[in-house]
Symmetry: C2
Subunit: 170 residues, 2 copies
């Protein structure tokens, strides 16, 4: 087993960290399928993959892609926060609706934390909305050991706060 | 008087919002001269100017350059925070050491707030370090009407917190 392809136990899930040209569209479709993100957010998710393909590690974006039978079912995008020493940001984590409720998000997040730690990160930040739609998202982070570091009222839009979660790693 | 060149009253200061190729180096020199920023930060400051030159308004970066006798003495860089409706970020504000202590930073910040408001922003965020070196910076934001929205411990480095300031505009 090498670092770039890791077979999860007890099922056909494969997690890889290499980025391929087809991932740009696959990520766009996956993020769109969740129904959770705005058009701008969907565009940015795909753009980060494209930027990684173009600039390599210098882009600052790392990825984990979870595939089942060759099909992308979840992914995470993360990177060291510029101008910080050991703080990393979980820019994206998304699980296809077909694969939700199976613990896949939790497993992918744990795999992401291991990867961040191995790359020198000591804290992983995740941001999400304070809207009712995101109650499960916030509960997800809490149950994965994240604490609320800040709540910025009216951040995304009037009445739509940003919740900043953080987990110390290692 | 047009929008792109605004002469400040009672002195020879000119503030412009157009970005010129020479600004990339001028910003690098200005930011470096302050002695306040790391090599990575200096690089990023210049990179944002280059990105604006290359991509135009689509870059998401707006600028105000304050010049005296054709020489850059201060600048600000700001933009709408992606995926937010009316939240803007003050990415950079820097005043050349020769021109510090003259109220220039305050005037440039006020001009920046007016510009953000005119572009549809309703809140301006500014982030700075919790280190002792930044006591004057934090006092500057407080005296300009900014409140502390969050303090993220160990954000920049172990023992070096990020203070997030915000001011509601309009």
């Amino acid at each position: 087993m090498n670092e770039s392809t890791r077979r999860m136990p007890a099922d056909s899930l494969v997690v890889r960290d290499t980025v391929r040209p087809a991932d740009t569209e696959a990520v766009r479709e996956l993020v769109l399928a969740t129904g959770f993100f705005s058009a701008e957010e969907v565009g940015i998710a795909a753009e980060l993959v494209a930027e990684r393909l173009q600039r390599g590690p210098a882009s600052g974006y790392e990825f984990l892609f979870a595939e089942r039978d060759g099909r992308l079912v979840a992914y995470s995008c993360f990177g060291r926060i510029p101008c910080t020493l050991v703080s990393w940001d979980l820019y994206w984590i998304a699980v296809h609706p077909d694969a939700q409720g199976t613990g896949l998000g939790r497993r992918l997040l744990q795999e992401t934390e291991r990867r961040v730690l191995s790359l020198g990160g000591q804290a992983l930040y995740a941001e999400t909305s304070g809207r009712a739609q995101y109650v499960p998202t916030r509960a997800f982070y809490t149950s994965c050991g994240y604490g609320t570091a800040a709540v910025l009222e009216d951040f995304y839009a009037p009445g739509d706060a940003k919740h900043v979660f953080v987990k110390k790693l290692g």
